[in-house]
């Protein structure tokens, strides 16, 4: 349920946001890979207070053989929120929202995963939201991209995502929970910039054609920065030198 905070000002007279950010500014970002020992690949992605963990298992034989495809691996994705990730306890049973987001995250990853190399197998991606403060689905895509690369799953490029929004009539980057619930629109977007594809695109709220284009531009430019950070994270994860 959306709560409209009547009378709350989200952009001050200097054009800054409630947490002091400029409209096109991301929250502080942290990325780590190889954070879990059992998974074939894993990553922790933090953006502001949003913390998302992703783990990849596979390719492996799927437990249900009828889900196999003869010409490619199936990708199986679960987006799930930890019960303690939100202000009010979230029931651990999968909600309709989580069912939908599992689908859109899967569809955000499919365009880059080279599934044709592993027919009749499954690649499992588990996304756990440890703390939710806006942008969890796009953070999930970013974490999953890192975890897939960490698992050595062949990919055409890396993916990252960010939620763009409109608050007090201004298009802003990386909306947090307050801006999301009080704002006029929320546009989660994910892309693989190296192959020029937008892989997740949703709009909840009202935008003009002009605003939509502005939001897409703002999102894509942030995604390019996030993908560069993913690359650096992966590079430094393998360049451990002797004695380190």
């Amino acid at each position: 349920m959306t709560v409209k905070h009547a009378g709350l000002r989200l952009i001050d007279e200097k054009g800054l946001r409630h947490d002091g950010r400029r409209p096109d500014e991301l929250r502080p970002v942290a990325m780590r890979v190889g954070v879990l020992s059992n998974a074939d690949g894993s990553a922790l992605f933090e953006i502001g207070k949003t913390k998302v963990l992703a783990a990849v298992y596979g390719p492996r034989e799927p437990p249900q053989r009828h889900t196999m495809l003869p010409d490619r691996a199936v990708l199986r994705v679960r987006y799930h929120m930890a019960p303690f990730s939100t202000m009010d306890r979230k029931s651990p049973a999968p909600s309709r929202r989580e069912i939908e987001l599992s689908k859109v995250i899967r569809e955000a990853l499919e365009p880059v995963v080279i599934a044709e190399l592993y027919p009749r197998t499954a690649i499992d991606v588990f996304v756990e939201v440890l703390q939710a403060d806006g942008g969890t689905r796009t953070a999930g895509v970013t974490a999953a991209s890192l975890a897939l690369a960490d698992a050595g799953i062949p990919m055409k490029g890396l993916v990252a995502g960010v939620a763009v929004g409109k608050v007090d009539g201004v298009i802003v980057l990386d909306v947090d929970e307050l801006e999301d619930s009080a704002g006029e629109a929320d546009l989660p977007i994910a892309a693989a910039p190296d192959i020029g594809l937008i892989t997740l695109f949703q709009l909840n709220g009202v935008l003009s054609r002009q605003e939509l284009e502005e939001a897409v531009e703002m999102g894509l430019s942030a995604i390019r920065r996030l993908v560069d950070m993913e690359k650096e994270t992966l590079r430094s994860s393998v360049t451990v030198m002797p004695g380190e």
Binding site: E110, D124, A191, T199, G205, R209
Partner: protein, 277 residues
């Protein structure tokens, strides 16, 4: 868990080639150009026992929407607003692809996209649904029932939902001395307060072509789809990319432009059905 679809209708390769060669000429197998929806027929009041109902036919695709209205308690964070819930059922009679059972991710996604398209723009004035603010409000249930699946369930469902909401009448009621609300569903009262009419326009990407209102065959050969919700002022009131491929920035922006134009066909059919209804 969301899994890569492993059960899909088979479209012969040769058919895909013939579709593509037609697209190249700007035409489609059923005689349409790329940017025109199929024939739209909407009928309201098809289920007398529902407070509002409509059937929408988009080519061979048929979706029925029923609106049921009951009295209930508001959400704590919106005490003076009624409650709107959208639910979709892919009933097995509609397609060999549908299995009995709880709604799968496709049904959930459909219902949630329709729900958001209505909610975010405030299509239904929910504050007009408070009977006693903080205590008793009207609960609207929009149930979407897919009867026949020949592609583009989003647009057909949105049309059915919108028409059913426009058709709906709040039941008459009496407030008892105990404070209880006695609803008399046999007497139909006021229509719902609808502030905005919304449609969705679905555009499929097949290779480099963008086509409006895909049939099931076209959806099967499509790489991805984008659903764009548009109101009568052509504002964009929602969007969702769906399907396992990506789209370029240019394709998405072009699809949004195409959606604005194609929405006119849907609005015309919707408005005609309502004025006739």
């Amino acid at each position: 868990m969301s899994t890569t679809p492993y059960k899909l209708p088979i479209v012969p390769m040769i058919k895909k080639q013939s579709y593509l060669s037609l697209y190249r000429k700007g035409a489609r197998i059923d005689g349409r150009d790329l940017e025109t929806p199929r024939n739209v027929r909407i009928e309201t009041g098809v289920i007398e026992k529902a407070e509002g109902s409509a059937i929408a036919r988009l080519g061979n695709t048929q979706v029925i929407a029923g609106v049921k209205i009951d009295v209930g308690s508001p959400f704590r964070d919106t005490p003076d607003q009624g409650v709107l819930t959208v639910h979709a059922e892919f009933v097995p009679l509609a397609s060999p692809l549908f299995e009995p059972g709880p709604p799968d991710e496709n049904a959930v996604e459909l219902a949630r996209v329709v729900d958001r398209s209505l909610r975010e723009v405030g299509a239904v004035d929910l504050s007009s649904l408070a009977i006693r603010p903080g205590e008793k409000v009207w609960m609207l249930w929009v149930d979407l029932y897919i009867l026949d699946h020949d592609g583009n369930l989003f647009d057909a469902s949105m049309l059915a939902a919108m028409a059913a909401l426009l058709d709906a009448r709040l039941p008459e009621y009496e407030e008892l001395e105990s404070g209880e609300i006695m609803v008399d569903k046999s007497r139909k009262g006021e229509p719902l307060k609808i502030d905005h009419r919304v449609v969705t326009v679905t555009i499929a990407k097949v290779d480099e072509y963008l086509i409006v209102d895909p049939t099931l065959d076209e959806e099967t050969i499509a790489d991805a789809k984008i659903v764009v919700a548009v109101d009568e002022e052509k504002r964009i009131v929602g969007a969702q990319k769906t399907g396992g491929s990506g789209m370029t920035r240019e394709e998405i922006l072009k699809a949004v432009d195409i959606a604005g134009k194609a929405s006119e066909v849907y609005f015309k059919a919707l408005n005609e059905a309502i004025s006739k209804g």
